[in-house]
Amino acid sequence: MYRYDEFDTQFVKSRTAQFREQVVRRLDGRLTEDQFRPLRLMNGLYLQLHAYMLRVAVPYGTLSSDQLRQLAHIGEKYDRGYGHVTTRQNIQFNWPELVDVPNILDDLAAVEMHAIQTSGNCIRNVTSDPWAGAAKDEVEDPRPTCELLRQWSSLHPEFTFLPRKFKIAVTASENDRAAIRAHDIGIKIVRNEAGEVGYHIYVGGGLGRTPIIAESLNEFVSREDLLPYLEAIMRVYNRYGRRDNKYKARIKILVQETGIKQFTQDVDAEYAAMTPADVAVGPEELKRIAAYFAAPKFETLSDKDEAFDKAVILDPALSRWTQNNLGQHRKAGYTIVNISLKPTDGAPGDITSEQMRAVADLADKYSFSELRFTHEQNVVLPHVKRADALAIYKALQDAGLADANIGKVTDIICCPGMDYCALATARSIPISQAIAQRFADPERQHIIGEMKIKISGCINACGHHHVGHIGILGLEKAGVEFYQLTLGGDATETAVVGDRTGKGLSQTELIDGIERIVEFYIETREGQERFLDTYRRVGIAPFKEVLYADH
C-alpha cells in the first residue's frame, strides 16, 4: 500500500491544525457561516438534513486494517457507532459534532487519512477496481496509476476551481468493476499489440440529471504520456466548460456540445502546445510509486482443498456464499472475499464499529492486513487463502456479515436519500429494505441470478440508478413520495443508460411491480440469460406491461 511520505504527513497535519483554528474562529464569530462553509467543505464536512456529515477519503478504496480500526474508533467515539460506505468508495459519518471534527481529523491523520477533496469543484477521490492487485483478469495493478493521479490532482492549483466536480476511475480489466464509463474520465489500462502497457481513455461520462456514458477519446496513451494527456483534457475542460450554468458545467455536457471529434482535436491541440516533460513523471518515479503496491508474499499453493470442498458440499449456505462472495484470485490457492454490507434488515453500506474491528482482525489474520471498499458499498478482503475461507465465513457469521448475496437482487446500491441527505426528494433506504425483504429467500435470489438494483433519492443519482439493471429514482409530489423506474442500465464494460418505464409508482406498487418484472424475466429467459440479456433481447415493452399490470 502507498505510505505517506514526509511531505504528505506534514501537509495533512498542518491542514488539520488550520482547520482547528478555523473552527475556533467560527465558534467565536470571527468567521461567519458564509466564510466558513467553503473551508469546512474543503475538509469534507457537510451540514446535512439532521446534522453535520464528514466524508473521509479512501483513495481508490484501499485501506489497511489499522485504518479501518481507526474508523471504528471514530465511529464509536464521535459518532453513533457506525459509518456508511459510499458509491465513491469513501466512508461517511452521519452525526459528528463540529467541535469534535478537528479531533477526528487528527485521528485520521494519525493513520494517514484525511477528508480533503471530498467536496468542491476539484478532482475527487480517484476510484478503482476493488479487486485491484488480486483480480485474475487484470493487465496490472491499477493502483499505482491511481496513486499517480492522486498525487498529480491533489491540490493542483490549476484544477482547484474547475467548472464543476470531476471524477476519475481506473480499471485494468476487461470486466469493468469500477464503472469507469460513468465517470468524467474513465481509464482502462490495456496492453497493445506490441505488448506495451498503456491507457485507453474515455471521457464525458456521468450520471446526475443528464446521464451519459463516456465516449472513447484515445485508445492508447502511453505510460509517459498519461499525465500530460490528462492535463490537456483538464485544460480544455477548464477553458471551455460551462461555468454559466451549474447543470451544464460537467465535462459530459462540453463533450456533447462540442462533439467527440472536435473535442479530441481540442485535446490534441492543447497537448501539442504544451511541454509534456513539464508534467510527465519519469520511469524512476513510476517505479517508486509502484513499489508501494508490490504484491504481498504469496505462497505457492494449489487450488485444490478437499476439506473446504467437502464443507461446501455439506452446507448449502456456505456453498452459496462461496459461489457468490468469492472472486477469482490471480494466484493459485488464493481467493478474493467479498463481504456484503447488504443485510436484509439494515441500510445498504452501513457498517458498525464493531463490525469494522471484526473485519480488520480478519484482514490481519488472513489478508495481509489489506482491505477495500467497493463502489457497490461492500468490503473486500483481497488476498485470502482458499484454505482460510471457511474460518473467515464463520467469523463473518459471528459479526453479522455473512450475507451471501453479492451481485444478487438484494445487493442493492442505495444512496442515503431523504433519511439523511439534505438534497433528497424521497427516501431510498426503506425501498431497498422492502426489496431486500421481498426477495430475502436465498434460494430465490440464486434462481434470479445476477441482478443489479440501484436506488437514488433524487436526480443527482448518487445511487447510480441510471446504470442499474433496475434503477429506481425517488421523487416527491405534494408531500407524497413516488418512484420512477429505469430498466436495462449497465455500469460495466457494456455500459448503457437504462430506459425509463413511464409513470411513477408508490412504494407498494413499486415493490409489487419489481416482483412481477423479476417473475416475467424468469419465465422468459432462455438458457443462461441474465436479466440484462433477456431485457436486451425482448426490449422494454413486455416488461412495461407487467410493471403496470395493476393499473
Binding site: 464569530g29 451540514l47 438534513l49 439494515g346 413520495e481
Partner: protein, 116 residues
C-alpha cells in the same frame, strides 16, 4: 437557501441547526432553541413572527445556530406541513438495530441553546 422572511401559510415555526453540535433545533417561546419539536413556538401572529425572525438573526450572529428559516405548520396536526421537515423532526425513518432518533434523544437528553 435559508430565508428569515416567512413566505409561508398558516402557523409558523422557526428552525435551524445548532452550530457547535449540528442538531436540528426549533425556536421556543422565550426565543431560545430546543431539539424537541414539541417545545417549538407555533404562531400565526405577524408581530411575533417578526420578532422570531429578529431573534433568529441575532442567534445566528451570536454563533449559536446556522441556517435558520421558517417552516409551515399544518394546523390540523400541529406538525410540519412539508414532508422534508417531518423527516428533520423525526430523524431517519429506517434504522433497524439502532436507537431511533427519539430513543437517542431520550438517552442524550434534549439540547437547549440560548444566547444567555
Amino acid at each position: 437557501m435559508s430565508s428569515l422572511k416567512h413566505k409561508g401559510k398558516g402557523p409558523q415555526v422557526m428552525t435551524a441547526n445548532g452550530l457547535r453540535q449540528g442538531p436540528v433545533v426549533y425556536m421556543r417561546k422565550d426565543y431560545s432553541w430546543s431539539t424537541v419539536f414539541a417545545e417549538a413556538l407555533q404562531t400565526e401572529d405577524e408581530a411575533i413572527i417578526a420578532a422570531m425572525g429578529e431573534a433568529a438573526q441575532s442567534a445566528s450572529e451570536a454563533n449559536l445556530i446556522v441556517g435558520a428559516y421558517f417552516i409551515d405548520i399544518d394546523p390540523a396536526t400541529s406538525e410540519p406541513a412539508r414532508y422534508r421537515e417531518r423527516f428533520r423532526m423525526n430523524g431517519p425513518s429506517f434504522d433497524p438495530g439502532r436507537p431511533t432518533h427519539i430513543e437517542h434523544a431520550e438517552k442524550t437528553g434534549p439540547i437547549h441553546l440560548s444566547e444567555t
